[in-house]
Structures are given as C-alpha cells and as structure tokens.
Symmetry: C2
Subunit: 262 residues, 2 copies
C-alpha cells in the first residue's frame, strides 16, 4: 500500500509566525500523499474578544454555543484555513481547504446532552468519513487541509482536531499505510518530563503497558497515548508524536519523535 501522512498542528505552530513558515515549507516538500488538520489558535480568542463572544464554560468544560460556533466557523473554517491554503499553494502544494461538511467528508452526530450540554459539538466515527471522495482527491494530487469542523442536520459542528486526525487515519487505513503525526510542543514522549533529551523513540503496546506500570508518563501525555494506541488497534500503521520543527525528519525513516506501532 502507498504511504499517507496525516498531520495535525495546533495553536503552538499557528501562533508562531517563524514556526509556521518552517512547518509549511517542510509540509509542502513532503512527496507522499498527505493531509493537514488544524485548529484555530489564539486568533479565534482574539477575534472572539473583539466581537464580544465570551468563552462559555460549564464545570470547566468549554461549551460551543451559537455565537461560538459562528466564531469558529469564521476563524477556523475561513480565515485560518484559507490563509494556510493560499500559502501552501504559493509553495507549490495543491492544498484544498475543507471542513467535514464539504463533500460530506466527515458526517458527525451532535453530542447528546448528558450532565453537560456541550452545545454545537460533533462526535465522529470512521464510518462517517467519505473516504471514497478523499481517496479520489488524493489521487488528483490535491492536499486536503481540514479545519476542525464537522456537520450534522444542516448545521456546522465544532469537533476536536486530534479526534478528526485520528478518525481520518482509521478510515483511510484501508487504502493507505497511514502515519498519523501529532505535532505538539515537545520533541516526543519523554521518559523524564524534566529532560527534553529523554524522548522514547519507539513504543509498542507491550512497552507501553510496562512503562505505564512504572508510572513513567505525566498526566498531560496520557490522553494522547491512549488516542494513539486506539488508532493503532483500529488499523493505523504508525502514530508519531513529535514537534513541528522536526517534521522533515519525522516523515522519513530516521524519526526524532516517538514512533508508535503495534
């Protein structure tokens, strides 16, 4: 099977002009089929403040009310997405900016109201991915650039960018050997949180269980690792957790981040 890179970037890249320039140049240079998934960064907060949209929190959880939905649709789906696309086009990469609504690429279901009503938030599963259209777009050498938005019932929905990247990776694993790359602020998963040079270079399920028992992992990294192994169990070939600055290395053989496989 052909390789496919699915790469997720967050605010730490989007909000740093130098880091973003380097990332986009490195991303454009990847020769294999690729998909980019992005959130919004500080821009959404800044524009939200100007528009008087207050972050809505219930029990410490962020709620997407109607105003916030319009804000993220504008900023993630409009401003950030199209600026990334225009810059990638200029770098010779045929980017095509989309949300999950476009081409019905990601059909979600609105999150059921439980103890908390999260508002306009979409939950997604691999069966909701239009992998036929995605496969065709990749065959045309276009590069899908996803804003972290999905849809259901005629409305847009806010959806976590990590989740979108994972679910895309699972759905596309029937067509490709997927390497799912999460760019975050560290070089990789650290054996010792105080030592940036203690990156665990490779991790499989067995070693993960062993290190879990030893209590090696800090709280912050555990959800990322759980996500990664869930993707691996669902057929994703490899998951890499690393920093955006090392993208070129991390799309090659000699990776610097944490490469996770079966």
């Amino acid at each position: 099977m052909n390789k496919l890179f699915i790469i997720k970037i967050g605010g730490n890249v989007l909000d740093d002009p130098a880091a973003l320039s380097k990332f986009l140049t490195d991303f454009a240079a990847i020769k294999e089929p690729k998909i980019l998934v992005h959130g919004g960064g500080r821009l959404a907060t800044k524009i939200g403040e100007q528009l008087g949209v207050k972050a809505s929190l219930v029990n410490g959880r962020r709620i997407t009310d109607a105003q916030t939905l319009d804000l993220v649709t504008m900023v993630y789906g409009g401003l950030v997405n199209k600026q990334l696309v225009a810059r990638l086009q200029h770098l010779g990469c045929n980017a095509l900016g989309v949300t999950g609504a476009d081409g019905n690429l990601i059909r979600a279901s609105i999150r059921p109201v439980g103890e908390i009503d999260y508002g306009f938030v979409g939950d997604i599963r691999p069966s909701g991915i239009n992998s036929t259209l995605l496969y065709f777009l990749l065959q045309q050498n276009t590069v899908p650039v996803f804003a972290s938005l999905t849809h259901a019932g005629g409305v847009m929905l806010n959806t976590n960018a990590d989740t979108i990247a994972s679910v895309l990776a699972i759905a596309l694993s029937k067509h490709f050997d997927v390497r799912l790359i999460f760019c975050f602020e560290r070089k990789g998963v650290l054996r010792n949180i105080a030592d940036e040079n203690s990156v665990i270079r490779t991790l499989n399920a067995e070693l993960y269980q062993e290190l879990l028992k030893q209590g090696v992992f800090a709280d912050g990294i555990l959800p990322k690792l759980e996500n990664a192994f869930a993707a691996i169990r669902s057929g994703v070939h490899e998951v890499l957790i690393g920093d955006a600055a090392s993208l070129s290395r991390n799309t090659g053989q000699e990776t610097t981040g944490t490469l996770i496989s079966k």
Copy 2:
C-alpha cells in the same frame, strides 16, 4: 454535451431567510451538474462594524485593505460558505465549499495599481481556472459552492462574484453546455423599468443592438448585459438573468427570466 448550471446569488437572497430557504431547496433539486457562486451580503458589513473594520472607499470605489481582506475571508469563505454547505448537505446535495485558492481552482493576478490602488483584489481570466479538477469534482457528483475569493502569490484576494461566475462559465464551456444564471432582484431584464411584467424573455446579439439604439435599457442593467454577451461571445451556451424565486422555472425549458443566447 452535458448541461451545467452555474448560478450566482447576491445579498438580496442571502439576507432574506425565507428567500434563501426556498432558493436552497430549489437549487438542491436541480438534477444536472451545478455550481453555486455567492458573495457575502449584509453579514460582512455587520461583523465588520463589530470588529471596527470601516468600509474603505477611494473616489467612491471600494478598496480591499488588509483588514477588509481578513473580514471577507472569514465571512464569505468561512461563515456564509459553510452555512450554505451544511444546509445543502441536509437537503441531499453534496456541496463542497471552496474559494479560488482551494485546489488552485481560480488563480488570479493582483489588480495593478493605477489611478486607484484597489488593494487585495484579484483579476481573473478563463486560463486561470483549474477546469480539470472542477470537471473531476462534478463527475464525482459534488457541487462546488464558491465564495467570491481567489488567490495569488500566497495571499487571498477579493474578486467580484459576477466575474467569478462568468469566468467559470467560459472555462467550463469546453466540457459542458453551460447555462449561466444571475439571480437578481427583478424577474428579468425589463423593456419598461416601471413594469415588472415587461420582461424581455429572449435576447440575442441582434435584438440587443436594436434595443440599445432605442435606449430601452436602464443604466443599472447595462453592465450585466455587457457581461452576459461577453460570456456568450466566449462560448457560453446561454445566460439567464432572473429572480431567485423562479430558479426552478429558469433551470427548465419554460423560463421566466431573460434568456440570452447568440
């Protein structure tokens, strides 16, 4: 050749909830391949006011400065485009929202600075259309929904929606029998501006010249007619000028608007 409808709507449809609902239902019901082109309507002005972006005018001409560019990229390319796409998806129409940057669908050149510096405005030509990708998207039964934005040199550019619709129609006329439909506030081109029932039902170049000499046309409609005949001369099969409420009729044989052909 297969038929293709390219339909442009403006603020008078976008700003009227009842008119927009009817339009989207009728648009979704069109069985032939189709493309929608939209501007922004009053929403951009309203959000611009909230953000403190002032309409920038030089000698009465609207200028797209950097702030205005961000505003239209957010509102046209994000909010309006994705809301239209989500609603069309719910109506069973596989809409795919795009700007000219996405998939390099419309490559522009930034308008040269003459007496006026229009700012971030893109001029476009049929040779700048990626008709290969558009043709492929239409073959996949997706329905491109264009916000009136293009790109050049790594930045987004503001481009007139009527122009985008015309240039798309010209470029796609080598693959399709295109009917280009401009929805505006009247039922069609009127012989007598005071009489809504005086729609000129069909118009060709010969009759146009004759009526021009008679001074039949009001100033407001002349640029639309010039555009229409320019499209016809460049290979577009038919141009229809009519109202959004009559879309179902105007995509059939028995049109109510003004049908323009050679």
